[in-house]
Symmetry: C2
Subunit: 214 residues, 2 copies
Amino acid sequence: MTSPDSPSSIVGTAPGLPKTARGERTRTRILKAAEETFGTLGYHRAGIADITRAAGVASGTFYTYFSSKEQTLRELVQEMGRRLRAHLERETADAGDRLEAEEKGLRAFLQYLRDNPALYRVLQEAQFVDESIYRRYYESFGERYVRMLARATDRGEIRSGNDEVRVWALMGISNFIGLRYALWETEMDFDDIVATVSDLLRNGLAAGGGREKS
Amino acid sequence: MTSPDSPSSIVGTAPGLPKTARGERTRTRILKAAEETFGTLGYHRAGIADITRAAGVASGTFYTYFSSKEQTLRELVQEMGRRLRAHLERETADAGDRLEAEEKGLRAFLQYLRDNPALYRVLQEAQFVDESIYRRYYESFGERYVRMLARATDRGEIRSGNDEVRVWALMGISNFIGLRYALWETEMDFDDIVATVSDLLRNGLAAGGGREKS
């Protein structure tokens, strides 16, 4: 990250993007402070002054990297999405097949959400600032997920089917299970939850012979 | 509804609850206007004057039935939940078993959401007014749903399992599938979507022999 030839997509020459490693660290610190501030106060109540105070930078520094509070939210949501995806990729890297990756992925997601509760709140609130922020987050997540299911079908790990619909169903499961068991309940162990969802994804709900019925 | 002995739970003597059928109609009209107004303008931008204008009542009339905008939101969310549940009960009444009820219920939910898009927006926004409104909506929905799954298990229609976790997974599926295919896309036919989710719920995703793996 110290070279201008760094492959990082963050370092660049577009306006607002830092040109040095130090600038990149400052920008990252402002985004982290925005995450905490939006997560605690809510987007509407949070001011730029709250963000710069939390980041320990002057307010002029904020405007070196961001043009507005809304742009900060937009970039923060993208950054949170990248961070979560990287986390899930790491945690599912050694899964033997797609269904094991789903199981490990759900567990990793629940733990991540419990450790980073601001993610959920900021994302939900973004809907009311600009729905396209929220929509792009899930669409971008969904596109990669569809490719993963398609590869799993090719490898014979799951049956073929409408993977886009399946992906939205799977994201819906993680979202509500996360809300209920990682955010609202902060103590519950994830073992039984993950086992129940994994069984649903592997086998469905039908009492013996479900496969023949459809 | 014309008798004071009406069994309706709405007619009552508690402060703010109408004592006559006419009063009940006015209160219902105000709630309907609040739904439209919150759905269009958003809760924060909508004022009580917007609600009374949409309902065609004087602002004094509003305060006969509601103490504040927040109380209106709270009662509206409860009322929307009751209406949706009644709709789903009607639409799934002739289902032969729980898995058929899930299929009919998802289709009915998607159509309902497409016809009543304010439901989603008002409910989502309620999270940021008072999270307990949002939480109570889903908890109340979930409690009934758990009882339905338990009865289906007793009848041998589905395998036994942790029904509370299953219910939050099922509600998550409906929520995201509804967001994606009923609200964001307003033209798409529901047949393939419902068939895909139904297949997931009946059979899971595992390629042949999933049941043995778990």
